[in-house]
Amino acid sequence: MRFLSFLISGLSLGSIYAIIALGYTMVYGIAKMLNFAHGDVIMVGSYICFFAMMRYNLPPVVGVLLAVIVCTVLGMVIERAAYKPLRQAPSLAVLITAIGVSYFLQNAAQLLWTSSPKVFPSIIGNGKIQLGELTISHVTLLTVVVCLVIMFALTWFTGNTKMGKAMRACSEDKGAAQLMGIDVNGTISMTFAIGSGLAAIAGVLLCSAYPTLVPTTGSMPGIKAFTAAVFGGIGSIPGAFLGGLLLGVIETFAKAYISTQLSDAVVFSVLIIVLLVRPAGLLGKVINEKV
């Protein structure tokens, strides 16, 4: 019973990592850049939803929709203003810019909304299901379901739609894709839009499960999710999903059975071992470079 209840909290935490990791992996897969500002877009989404629900008393659904819209637009604006001018620049420049954007968002949030913590209202209440001794909260169930739905929807989208195919083409070879008449810039913008929309959903679920909202709320989950994406194989959608879930479960089990002090050390040791054995991550594709 103890094992099961830890498994469930691990899955709940892991699903949130997974949704964030999906955003990371999408952007990395297509634009080949690490968008370190992703975690902060999550935080913005949570604030939008918080204010919609608490200050304007809008129903949760409207709050979530608003958060998704704002984050989608924000993602596209960030891409246009900060990353597009650097399309031809070395990837290190883009990485540093992403870190800059991350700090910008955190500090802007602190200016706008102050850093006194806010308590996020759960979007679906605090209900729970009792199965014998086991309690599962509605938020946990919702998180796992939403995570699965997003994973399948994204897999289908990239595999079967025209836009999705364009994305995969850009991912393989930008130059060749452009020669084939694909609007590479448009596709990358679209990727950012989708990734940021997902970030908003992740933010709302994150704060529903763990309700303290401060301007740095997104940064640590963002880093853990990035780890999850690498763990699962960055660029791979099912990989991000698997990596996120595993990371959450390992973290919870490490806390429960090894030591609450050492849980992070355990998580990252597992990561190092996996990467030593499979450098491309669990489900990552190994691409042989021709020299």
């Binding site: 103890r2 909290s9 006194s116 913590p117 996020f120 309700p211 609450t260 992070d264």
Partner: protein
């Protein structure tokens, strides 16, 4: 701006600073730094507001006039040092040190070096007063909070089996934890569950809560600030676990979090030296004034800030400090006076200081219907 104009402006500013420093003054300048913005802003603003009330009250009596200035340090040691230097430039003669521990550890060094007497309202780390002859605390030191909490739990028979959840990368939490454990062992309290968390790992507490619940802890001791504490309360509630939660001064502020469901904090006990519903005349007047000006019941940090002003002013009067004395002269006079000075304030009676630490009795408080109620 061209360079010439810029240098002229700078020169004028420098003149202004010099002149203001030289001019004979009739007020004594008291300065302090605290987080007026940022994550710990609740604490900084409480202290600054309450100190302003105390200064106004003292000035209204006529007699020696005082001037108060608070600079923002955003709970950051580096910013606190800059803020402290800004206060020195302003002509600060007596310091209220800093509100929170990390900044105060930095500014108290300056108090020592620059020979400016300092008294912190609420920076509870021992490093703030250690090795300094001119920095005092109005609040308990961290170790004192830990042993006082254990003693309170044992003496009032609150529980036999106790769980502790603490933050292992935070000096404040660790300091309280260490002395709590030592005292608990001495008094025969059984600590059945001892779990930790750290920065970045402070969202999911299900494991820590499950551990305490399984081992049958009747009381959970939370030596931490209110942000993680609020998550623990919510998650324990979700897990159907309802022990007594026992906090320290960092718990103060939990009721003012925006969106916080106060019913979660129902029955939480915290040890603080200040009780806002006390019938004591001085306390009642202070609470009424604070409520009128700032629209909320003052917390313990506010009370500490209020007391610091009165203690400093009281000691300066006893020492015969005048406005034309330099910071160093005042410093020497106050060091001598505080050796024997006793003070009655809103956070305790007959307070005295030894080696910078205060001697006073903590009071137990319980949260009932979204407000603090005194237990004694």
């Amino acid at each position: 701006m061209n360079k010439k104009l810029f240098s002229v402006v700078l020169a004028v500013l420098m003149m202004a600073v010099c002149v203001s420093g030289v001019m004979a003054q009739d007020t004594i300048k008291i300065g302090g730094t605290g987080p007026l913005t940022g994550g710990a802003a609740i604490y900084g603003n409480a202290v600054a507001n309450a100190a302003a009330i105390a200064i106004d009250e003292i000035n209204a009596l006529g007699g020696q006039q005082y001037e108060l200035r608070y600079e923002d340090d955003a709970h950051d040691a580096e910013k606190a040092v800059n803020a402290f230097n800004a206060l020195l430039d302003w002509g600060m003669q007596v310091s209220m040190s800093s509100v929170t521990s990390k900044p105060a550890e930095a500014t108290s060094e300056l108090n020592m070096e620059e020979r400016v007497f300092g008294m912190t309202p609420s920076a509870s780390s021992t490093a703030v007063i250690e090795g300094k002859d001119n920095v005092l605390q109005m609040c308990f030191t961290d170790p004192n909070q830990g042993s006082a909490s254990a003693a309170y739990i044992a003496n009032n028979d609150l529980a036999d089996k106790v769980a502790v959840i603490w933050k292992n990368d935070d000096v404040y939490s660790k300091g309280i934890y260490d002395t709590f454990m030592a005292e608990a062992e001495e008094l025969g309290l059984e600590v059945v569950s001892d779990t930790t968390f750290s920065d970045g790992n402070d969202t999911d507490f299900s494991v820590q809560i499950a551990d305490a619940q399984e081992k049958g802890a009747e009381l959970v001791f939370l030596p931490m600030y209110y942000t993680p504490a609020s998550l623990i309360l919510a998650q324990a509630d979700a897990a159907g676990y309802d022990p007594i939660f026992f906090g320290v001064d960092g718990m103060d502020g939990i009721l003012t979090m925006e969106g916080f469901d106060a019913s979660l904090a129902e029955g939480v006990i915290l040890l603080t030296p200040f009780n806002a519903d006390s019938e004591d005349e001085k306390t009642a007047a202070f609470v009424a004034k604070y409520l009128e000006l700032y629209g909320e019941i003052p917390n313990q940090f506010a009370a500490d800030g209020y007391d610091v002003v009165y203690a400093l002013v009281g000691a300066m009067e006893e020492a015969g400090v005048t406005a034309d004395m330099s910071a160093e002269e005042i410093n020497d006079a106050l060091i001598e006076t505080f050796e024997t000075f006793t003070f009655d304030g809103v956070t305790g009676e007959n307070m005295t200081w030894s080696d910078g630490a205060v001697n006073k009795d903590p009071k137990g408080m319980i949260i009932q219907d979204g407000a603090y109620v005194g237990l004694d």
